[in-house]
Symmetry: C2
Subunit: 361 residues, 2 copies
């Protein structure tokens, strides 16, 4: 066993996914966390990945995922495997009593997810999905304004766009276009963030209805490349989103209140690590004869010395440490958010399958 302080949370990573490079770095940046183990089906690939990503020399590099889970020193695993493998490896991780930081989408559907959540619940394990933006202090600052009844008023609508134009190589070979790997395609990859943003804005109250919009694009294998959906709440609130592998990179969320509106142009990944911005406008009125209009525009800057993914790892690490030392139990807040987001994706998918009929939750 590598020598690490007892208070440190030891992470094992399953697989060498591209996103694991970012999260490895985040673990390295997190006080009280250490990059303890990495497993890949190819030991050579794991060694190469570890070397390229500044794993400490004492890190355990394994030629299988099983060995990471079998390592008793591992407290928590980060699982960036294709979604179709999540259920298997999350359940195996639970058997080995590992806390789980899980790449999104966490599951192919809520039935799968519930098996994972039940296992975590039974074993007192923390599960958190790797939706990084929620951990950025910008999210908290935006929330303050969303709850400001005077400046913002009541939230009426949320619009979310997350797209990027996938290059030919991606459209041919990426796991997110393969029905046996990430069969939710753009919905699972990008729509996850959109659904989460809508839920988050509405304080995680589930909408009453979910309706996919006509005009879905599939690839030849039947995987969603572009789709859109709308959510409604009983009190006249609504959200809609579009996610696409087919149009230029856009990560926009617009939140419309009765008095003001908030807009983020880079909500998933801030343009830069240290400063994230958002726009707020309010108090609009027409000038005489409606020849023009004025409103108060504010651009807010939120600085952070720690990137959002390291803040996420930090929050997860604190929870794991608390559970390990017996001072707390697993925080339901995180799996609850995960489950609600998965419910929305399931409903969008079902609505698409049912020719865009409205699904009532």
């Amino acid at each position: 066993m590598a020598q690490v302080e007892d208070s440190v949370v030891r992470f094992g990573i399953l697989g060498c996914a591209s996103i694991a490079r970012k999260v490895s770095r985040a673990i390295l940046l997190t006080q009280g966390a250490c990059l303890y183990a990495l497993g890949s089906r190819s030991l050579a690939k794991a060694k190469e990945f570890a070397a390229a990503n500044n794993f400490p020399p004492e890190a355990k590099i394994y030629g299988s995922y099983e060995e990471v889970l079998a390592d008793k020193a591992v407290d928590a695993v980060y699982i960036p495997l294709p979604t179709s493998l999540h259920l298997e490896w999350v359940l195996k991780a639970i058997e080995r009593k590992k806390h789980i930081l899980l790449e999104k989408p966490p599951a192919l559907n809520v039935e799968e997810l519930d098996k994972m959540l039940k296992g975590c619940e039974k074993n007192g394990l923390q599960l958190m999905d790797a939706t990084m933006w929620m951990h950025h202090p910008r999210a908290a600052k935006v929330k303050d304004i969303l709850h400001d009844k005077e400046a913002f008023g009541d939230l009426k609508e949320v619009h979310v766009l997350f797209s990027f134009r996938a290059p030919d190589e991606f459209l041919k070979n990426n796991i997110r276009v393969k029905p046996d790997l990430d069969s939710l395609g753009a919905l699972g990859d990008l729509g996850w963030y959109c659904a989460r943003a809508a839920l988050w804005a509405f304080d995680f109250e589930l909408p009453q209805s979910v309706t996919a919009l006509p005009g879905v694009c599939f690839n030849e294998a039947g995987v969603i490349m572009d789709c859109a959906a709308t959510f409604t709440w009983n009190n006249g609130q609504a959200a809609s989103f579009r996610c696409s592998f087919q149009s230029c990179m856009t990560m926009k969320v617009i939140m419309q209140g009765t008095n003001g509106a908030i807009e983020l142009d880079d909500f998933v990944i801030p343009y830069t690590e240290d400063i994230a911005t958002f726009k707020f406008h309010c108090d609009a009125s027409f000038v005489d004869k409606s020849l023009g209009w004025i409103c108060k525009h504010q651009e807010h800057e939120v600085k952070t010395s720690t990137p959002q993914e390291a803040l996420m790892v930090g929050n997860f690490t604190k929870l794991v440490r608390g559970i390990r030392d017996g001072s707390t139990t697993a925080d339901h807040k995180w799996p609850d958010m995960t489950r609600k987001t998965q419910q929305l994706l399931d409903a969008v998918k079902l609505s698409i399958e049912k020719h865009f009929c409205t699904i009532y939750l």
Copy 2:
């Protein structure tokens, strides 16, 4: 008959609607046009309006709409009456051989509109709806970029938001909340601009399908206060919009191409008369490990010494003069746009009535 140059196009205005203040000023600003007559059911109100809006002293002020139409010197009428009165007064204007600048929405439905268009066609009269923003040079500049296959790529999606928070007085008394006046409510008033923007972006190709989104809000009289819809084209292109009297003022259009995106924050009425802006971003890419992303942001400024409503009056005036002097005939381009936009509103309304089912055009 007031003395005006023979080459000048003489406008008569039916009614003293608030928007007529803006258009009266636009007529005054237009070379070759003159504010020749005004009619209201109340002569006193007409006189007051004329005095407050710089009508020339020789302008004819009538105590009825009929008298404006009966005045043979009037070349063209501007009709800002409630929509439910359009059919009657447009047909009467056609009888009197007046060209027609018509406030939007032009009609309660396309059947009504077709009666108007047929009358204009038969009599060689020009009809133009008063959608002002299309005449701003910003629109042409945006169109140049939309057609730039390298910078913008192919247009994939359009998102339009037009809302304002109507004060209580508006929600009680405005014609746009009355089922017997402007029964299309927010859809006719705001949705008109949204549907037009989507059509305009897609070069007026009608979509294949129109679907209203669940979550429509009606007032007690059954008039739409808030609604949303989506349009799809067969080649995977889509547009969606939301229009609302219930959330803060927003006039946003986002056009997403494969390579770039264009965004206007004030597409209906520019913040200021002399400069309108729009944003363009393209060439987005992630930095290493997706720790951030970069793209080229441009803010374009388009200046105009003539406000968009005066440019509209100018374009209409030129057409009328050309028809009057026999050098041209009525330009079908404008009523064609009007009809397609009305078709979309009709389809949205029908989709709402049919519980949000998809309407195929």
